[in-house]
């Protein structure tokens, strides 16, 4: 696969006394958005955390641009170009929006900072007006925006989004969909975990279904893809 950015091979991972991934294989190509589906506890977040380095896999390979990054700690994975927007967002609640964003780019040269910030404020004009606001005081949707913007400050090769619409009001779910569409248009490679299947199929190019620790189903998202069939493959 010439255009493969992220290659996951026979990935096994879990926690003491609890094996979760039993040999997961998939590929994410440059510039595409792949959505990872599955029931609760099927290992979607574990897969993202294994790629980001928060979970140490027990077997398998994770190749980013052909380089094996399996078992690297999170800051190494970040340096290699894997940036995650986690489910809990994990922002710095008592710092301002801009401080959060700056920390997102702390591994970039200082000289790049103004340009990076300007780019993010252009993409997220809401944040531009609130750069001095403490993140703690913002709504869930706004915080999600800060989280995505902070991740973009790190100039990721691949962006991992864990439940970007989780717990948000419908208005913000639309907003997130628009953001992801914009990112895709700009050529950002994404691996997304999403419970909202309708949204997932709307924003993704391809889908994967995790079940019993393995990829049970995979395919392209086309107009013909039936939501119902996918739901069945996830839960039955």
């Amino acid at each position: 696969m010439p255009d493969a950015l992220l290659v996951v091979e026979k990935l096994e991972a879990g926690y003491p006394g609890q094996r979760i991934l039993l040999g997961v294989d998939f590929v994410v190509r440059r510039g595409e958005a792949v959505v990872l589906l599955g029931a609760n506890g099927s290992g979607k977040s574990t897969a993202l955390n294994a790629i980001s380095g928060f979970v140490r896999p027990t077997a398998g390979r994770i190749l980013l641009d052909g380089r094996d990054i399996v078992g690297q700690p999170p800051h190494r994975a970040f340096a290699a170009g894997v940036v995650q927007v986690s489910q809990a967002r994990d922002l710095f609640p008592d710092l301002s929006v801009e401080d959060n964003l700056r920390l997102g780019a702390s591994r970039r040269p200082d000289a790049d900072m103004p340009a990076l910030l300007a780019g993010v404020y252009r993409d997220f004009p809401v944040l531009a007006g609130r750069r001095a606001q403490r993140v703690r005081t913002m709504s869930g949707g706004e915080q999600q925006m800060v989280a995505i913007a902070r991740a973009l400050m790190g100039e990721p090769k691949i962006l991992l989004l864990d439940e970007p619409s989780g717990g948000l009001a419908p208005r913000f779910v639309r907003e997130i969909a628009a953001i992801v569409a914009r990112l895709k248009a700009a050529g950002t490679t994404m691996l997304i975990v999403e419970q909202n299947i309708k949204l997932a199929l709307e924003i993704a190019d391809r889908f994967l279904v995790l079940k019993s620790g393995l990829v049970a189903e995979r395919g392209d998202v086309t107009r013909a893809t039936s939501q119902e069939a996918i739901v069945r493959s996830i839960y039955l």
Binding site: S52, G53, F54, P73, P74, H75, F78, A79, V83, Q84, V85, S86, A88, R89, D90, L91, F92, P93, D94, L95, D99, R102, L103, G104, S106, R107, R150, A151, M153, G154
Partner: protein
């Protein structure tokens, strides 16, 4: 007498400030309160003793080496003992810090427990008279070292990215890892720095208290009092709190009763927490509950 008390209290308060500063650095960077800090102070002083008296090294070289060794010790304590239980309850961390300190004290006692150890005399002896006020050279040295330490810390935390990194790691360790910060290395380094500052404290305190395994037992609670008074987690607060405690102890001792010197720290802790929990310079929001 008042002038003398103020000056001597200031000198004594500098030592408390140094202890409080070191604990504040570790707390600010790692959210862990090192209940074993007093024993690191002792360990630093014993390091110098071993190097100077037993190995015959030069004092300043030994002092520098002790600071480096304690940095390594703090680093190793974090890496080997704190990190594996970091996900557990805070109480386990407190217990671990106490147990490590207890082990250091027990170890020192095994090695030197029944000997009396004079600390190498390196500070100039003698007396400096400023009008009615009497000072010893060590008073000035202690004040100078504490001022320099504060200046370095202020620079590092205010003028370099370390300050923001510390805040990030403090507020969300996972968030910090998500933006590419090596949280583990940061924790280890900060524990190292805290322990290195403990060594500095030990080197300054030992010529005064002289050397024995329990020499720093009472410094811990005084450090806490200084931190509480100044505002938990605030670096300038730690210094201000330490100085006020030092002066306060002497004033209480001289004008009320010497019996009260020992409980000044406890009373300060209780009163401040009841009346103004954020202390003099602290911002309540900085403290995660």
């Amino acid at each position: 007498m008042l002038a003398q008390l103020l000056v001597s209290g200031f000198a004594q308060g500098c030592l408390y400030a140094l202890v409080a500063l070191a604990m504040t650095v570790v707390y600010r960077a790692t959210t862990v309160v090192n209940f074993g800090h007093g024993d690191l102070v002792m360990a630093g002083a014993f390091c110098v003793y071993v190097l100077v008296v037993l190995a015959g090294a030069d004092f300043f070289l030994s002092a520098a080496l002790a600071v480096v060794l304690l940095f390594a010790l703090g680093w190793a304590i974090q890496a080997g003992l704190i990190r594996p239980i970091l996900a557990g309850p805070h109480l386990s961390l407190a217990m671990m810090a106490i147990a490590v300190g207890y082990a250091l004290r027990g170890g020192a006692r095994v090695l030197w427990g029944r000997e009396v150890l004079p600390f190498p005399k390196v500070f100039p002896q003698g007396i400096i008279k400023l009008g009615p006020v009497i000072l010893s050279p060590s008073d000035l040295i202690v004040a100078g070292v504490v001022a320099a330490t504060l200046a370095v810390l202020a620079f590092v935390f205010l003028a370099t990215p370390v300050g923001k990194t510390a805040q990030a790691v403090f507020q969300s360790p996972r968030g910090a890892a998500l933006v590419g910060i090596d949280v583990g290395a940061f924790h280890r380094t900060m524990w190292g720095i805290g322990a290195a500052m403990a060594a500095l404290g030990g080197i300054l305190i030992a010529p005064i208290t002289l050397l024995y395994p329990d020499m720093a037992a009472s410094t811990l609670i005084r450090g806490f009092a200084a931190m509480t008074l100044g505002g938990f987690g605030s670096l300038p607060g730690a210094v201000l709190g330490g100085l006020l405690l030092g002066v306060g102890e002497l004033l209480v001792g001289a004008y009320v009763s010497t019996k009260l010197i020992d409980i000044t720290a406890y009373l300060i802790i209780i009163l401040v927490l009841l009346l103004r929990p954020s202390g003099l310079l602290g911002r309540p929001a900085v403290v995660r509950v």
